[in-house]
Symmetry: C2
Subunit: 183 residues, 2 copies
């Protein structure tokens, strides 16, 4: 593996944003030549497969400006500084859907776009949901609709591309696999 390493020669900050930072790096390639890498730094995020007692999946529909369209996704959000993934998962679930959970289990983590970004998503399974007495509390620039769907409805949404992002297609396939294994 060591023979694949790229050494940093220079690193230049191009942009520092609210969500992402962009760096342009000059690297020494394994063959000794020089290359450039465009790198996005992101704080990381969590996503939650939230199952109600009657086995429905909580989803949020929101506009994604990068895509100029709305997507149906599992609840998710960015890690705050110093916040654990577990706390972020509970907070985002409650903020976005108004539900709290009794059981929270880590399923998997993955980098979303390792070719250019360091965003790591931690995926959780939440059960024992209770509708909170306080209303959902969104960020000031966050607008979304909450949906409750069956696994079959979610699979249909993957087919017709209303569900169209990595963490949510992974989540739907995860539930299909659990169903297939425990039949």
């Amino acid at each position: 593996m060591d023979h694949l390493i790229e050494k940093t020669l220079t690193s230049k900050e191009i942009f520092k944003g609210r969500v992402i930072d962009l760096y342009l790096e000059e690297v020494e390639l394994p063959n000794g030549k020089t290359g450039t890498r465009e790198i996005i730094k992101h704080p990381g995020a969590v996503a939650v497969i939230a199952l109600t007692d009657d086995n429905k999946l909580l989803m949020v529909e929101q506009y994604r400006k990068a895509l100029e369209r709305a997507l149906v996704e599992i609840p998710a959000g960015k890690l705050e500084k110093g916040e654990s993934p577990e706390s972020t998962a509970k907070r985002e679930l409650e903020e976005e859907t108004g539900y709290t959970c009794e059981k929270l289990e880590k399923i998997v983590s993955f980098y979303t776009s390792p070719g250019f970004a360091d965003e790591l998503v931690h995926l959780f399974l939440a059960k024992g949901l209770t509708k909170s007495t306080v209303a959902a509390e969104l960020d000031e620039d966050e607008f979304l609709d909450v949906l409750e769907v069956t696994l079959e409805e979610a699979q249909a949404m993957v087919e017709d591309e209303r569900i169209y992002d990595a963490k949510t297609v992974y989540a739907v396939q995860y539930l299909q696999l659990q169903q297939a294994l425990h039949k």
Copy 2:
């Protein structure tokens, strides 16, 4: 859904790179207030679940500068301008692993990071693999090792986080689901 739309007020190009472009957009939020969105434009990519005749999975290990570590991933690559996802899949499979395929089937597409990027990944299943007589031909800044692993080995690599990116954990779960469904 229309009540969720964010209208573009201004769009400013911050960076135009070899792989990604960065835009800063001012938007009108659904409540009439103004917000900003940091947006990465990416050409899109393909990824290939390539199964050999003895049911092994072709993987590539490469250094990911954004993560400062190597990952084991399924073969993948960016779409060239005007190139169809199918052609890209065949080209990248051959360039990275030296294998051509007889059968290529589209499985699913997904956006990797809809919160800030428009990167869309098209995932294919390739079978009927033949080792090409010409050597693998990589981009000049691309260095990788080719691995052939069983599904069980791939699952272990997900556990110990050598496999750690969205498209590849999706691919491993896809094969687990196929196995569970066809047992």
